[in-house]
């Protein structure tokens, strides 16, 4: 009896090739496109959720001779991902919705669908690898997406297949051509968040919280010492490390160094103010047995950042603290702290705050 796998298909080249490879490997493949309510129909070029994407996925499945379904996960996605995204911005943080989509939508809700059809496996087109129940970086360092996958429930790892994770994007496209998947072989890469039309996240916040939301209301630009140096049109439009949209007239380049939602203040300061050596994260998820305090780790505090060396100084049930060997720039609340041991993902959490890690904390 062939083993059944439910493949999450966005209509893009990665998941199409994933499905095709699994067919070739002899799996009983079932394709599914998740409809997440991304207003895709208004945006024909969207990478996912648009009617074109659904149709592309369906045509690829037809070409592969496997069934395809459209799964409506809109309400759960709206609650678990979109709403959280908006709430995080309202708290002055910079969320990564893709992490929550992987955690809750793709590798929880979709797993339930897999259960319903007796699918032993679940597959996606992510550039990451699972070997012996351990999550590892994708082979292609330029495409590695393991940073977005730390939140998956550990038991799900043993059911995951990530067929393109062991190849480069160029190889994926080559395989697409080789397998005759011309429909998607040269499809453009998506960089945007699927439910944020034209990259303007303020629109989504306005839609969910109302145009009068505090996060989009005027507030002061201030210096660390409290001096008001200008006015902005909503702290949710800013993220730590941002330069764009700041007042000018300073002797050195200025950056957003802190967001204080209680007073709607966006704190700006020079580059040195961005540096920190301590990272505190919550909403932890471990993909291996939690390492003890004192253990050396590699960490990433943003996608595509070079991994940095550090030490776990505190490991609690709900919180970890990492001390970095070298200061990092712009430790941003809401982004993910992902812990690695070489290529192995140990786990991760959501950054709660950064700190300078010096005996005397700056005010």
């Amino acid at each position: 009896m062939r083993e059944r796998v439910l493949v999450a298909m966005s209509g893009g080249v990665d998941s199409s090739v994933a499905a095709a490879l699994l067919v070739r490997q002899g799996y009983d493949v079932v394709g599914a496109t998740m409809k997440l309510g991304c207003h895709g129909d208004e945006l024909p070029d969207r990478p996912c959720c648009s009617l074109d994407s659904v149709n592309d996925a369906r045509r690829i499945c037809d070409q592969l001779g496997v069934p395809h379904y459209v799964l409506n996960l809109e309400s759960a996605f709206g609650r678990d991902v979109v709403r959280d995204f908006v709430d995080e911005y309202a708290r002055g943080r910079t969320p990564i919705p893709c992490v929550r989509c992987n955690t809750f939508t793709k590798f929880r809700d979709l797993v339930h669908k897999a259960d319903a059809i007796d699918a032993r496996w679940i597959a996606t087109g992510h550039y990451a690898q699972v070997r012996d129940g351990v999550l590892r970086r994708g082979l292609d360092p330029n495409k590695d997406q393991s940073y977005f996958l730390w939140g998956i429930a550990r038991p799900v790892l043993s059911r995951m297949l990530l067929p393109v994770g062991c190849q480069s994007k160029a190889q994926t496209r080559a395989v697409a051509h080789e397998l005759g998947l011309e429909l998607v072989a040269e499809k453009r890469e998506s960089q945007d968040i699927c439910f944020v039309p034209d990259g303007d996240h303020a629109k989504v916040i306005a839609r969910e919280l109302g145009a009068g939301a505090a996060a989009l209301a005027r507030g002061p630009f201030i210096r660390r010492d409290g001096m008001v140096v200008g006015e902005h049109d909503g702290y949710a439009r800013f993220t730590i490390g941002q330069r764009r949209g700041l007042p000018g007239g300073f002797s050195e380049p200025m950056f957003v160094v802190e967001i204080r939602p209680a007073t709607r203040a966006v704190v700006i300061g020079p580059r040195a103010d961005l540096l920190g050596r301590l990272v505190v994260a919550r909403e932890l998820n471990w993909l291996v047995d939690a390492p003890p305090a004192g253990a050396g780790v590699e960490v990433q505090i943003r996608h595509r950042a070079r991994p940095a060396r550090g030490m776990l100084v505190r490991v609690e049930r709900d919180e970890v603290e990492v001390a970095l060997d070298e200061p990092a720039s712009a430790i941003t609340p809401g982004q993910s702290l992902v812990l690695y041991d070489g290529a192995t993902v140990l786990g991760g959490g959501v950054i709660e705050r950064g700190g300078r890690g010096l005996p005397v904390m700056a005010a």
């Binding site: 079932v30 409809k35 009617l51 659904v54 369906r58 069934p67 379904y69 459209v70 799964l71 409506n72 339930h112 669908k113 259960d115 319903a116 059809i117 007796d118």
Partner: protein, 387 residues
């Protein structure tokens, strides 16, 4: 052991073209290809075939030839009925349209368009069983209404409205009455001589004709503006070169449906009742929507609390059984049914709804197979459902 034969339980979505229909259409894809408007032999042949098709379809309805307009589909017929009549009457102080919340989107969206064009949309309240609330109907269908539209047999739950009685009440107030009979035709008796509706929509592909052909019955004297402008075809009501082959196919399918109606009803009712009883016996908390109301026999809509229809439909399809969850949307995804919510079904129960629709391909063996498989899948789904 291969997979057992597939079971198609989605006749309310569409039906296969009948052999008799295909045969009747064949000549018009070949030698008899003429344009009915042409003044030569080819044209005459086509004209004769078209006129005959119209006569035969009219006879199936108890209507006269000039009262039948061929359309491209049921949706077009519904749009013509609502928008065509409203546009013809809104100048006479009849600026409202009345319909029910359980109509097909073709009617609901056309009524909505009336609203955008400056008219008033009124939606009749429903009883919990899926029947029109009479008091609400009488309160809304007043002298300022241009057209009122009530679906004869609902496409999701099969509930059968008392269309002749509602039509009579509308007529008493000078309101043009339309019924979407796409699911009713071939199941209930339709006779324009005894029943006072003014307009009736039909669709070919629900009764063994191809997709792409429908018809609108328009009682003589009913005010109607065309939706399209062009030639004089169909008395200017529906310009465009007539689809002769499909009109012939629709007429043939309609004749067969009328001839077989009583027998078909009896067969489908027996099969549906057997399936329903089997499901209820093994899933005692299953809810059959519309069960307490008069129902056409080809639609069985069941919700099993806590078992989402999306997963069930996949599991059924992967075992070769085709059902649907209400009406499918363009992307093919399942959205909560507006019909079920309109009759007061909770969102949770509505998201569990599975429509099984019986028809020509349904054998007793199909029923037995589904009666066995469906409860098995339900039991499995319930074991998986996180408490």
């Amino acid at each position: 052991m291969g997979m057992p034969d597939p079971v198609y339980l989605d006749h309310a979505a569409t039906t296969p073209v009948r052999a008799e229909v295909l045969e009747a259409m064949q000549p018009f894809f070949g030698a008899r290809f003429g344009n009915p408007s042409s003044p030569h032999r080819w044209g005459r042949e086509a004209r004769t075939a078209l006129d005959e098709a119209r006569e035969r379809l009219a006879r199936c309805l108890g209507a006269t030839n000039d009262e039948v307009v061929f359309t491209s589909c049921g949706t077009e017929a519904d749009n013509m009925a609502l928008l065509g009549v409203w546009r013809a009457r809104e100048g006479d102080g009849r600026r409202a349209v009345v319909t029910t919340p359980i109509e097909h989107k073709a009617v609901l969206a056309a009524a909505h368009q009336v609203g955008r064009e400056g008219g008033e949309e009124r939606i009749v309240a429903m009883q919990a069983g899926g029947l029109v609330d009479d008091r609400s109907f009488d309160a809304l269908v007043t002298e300022d209404v241009a057209v009122c539209s009530v679906m004869w047999v609902n496409n999701e739950i099969g509930v059968l409205q008392d269309v002749p009685a509602l039509a009579a009440r509308a007529r008493a107030r000078g309101v043009v009455f339309h019924t979407d009979a796409v699911q009713a035709f071939g199941k209930v008796e339709v006779d324009t001589r005894r029943m006072p509706f003014d307009l009736l929509s039909l669709s070919g592909h629900k009764i063994g004709a191809p997709k792409g052909i429908g018809a609108l019955y328009i009682r003589r004297g009913t005010p109607m503006e065309p939706l399209m402008f062009g030639g004089e075809q169909d008395r200017g009501r529906r310009p465009g070169t007539e689809n002769v082959a499909m009109a012939v196919g629709l007429a043939r399918a309609a004749e067969l449906a009328v001839a077989e109606r009583a027998h078909e009803w009896e067969k489908l009712e027996r099969q549906r009742d057997r399936l329903e009883a089997a499901l209820l016996a093994r899933i005692p908390d299953a809810v059959i929507h519309g069960r307490g109301s008069p129902r056409a026999p080809h639609i069985l809509n069941v919700s099993v609390p806590g078992v989402d229809s999306e997963s069930m439909l996949m599991a059924l399809d992967l075992r070769g059984v085709a059902c649907s969850a209400g009406s499918a949307c363009q992307s093919g995804s399942v959205t909560p049914s507006h019909v079920l919510s309109a009759i007061g079904v909770s969102p949770d129960l509505a998201s569990a709804a599975i429509r099984m629709s019986l028809g020509a391909l349904t054998t007793d063996a199909c029923i037995d197979r589904v009666a066995e498989l469906f409860p098995t899948l339900v039991e499995k789904a319930r074991r998986l459902t996180p408490a």
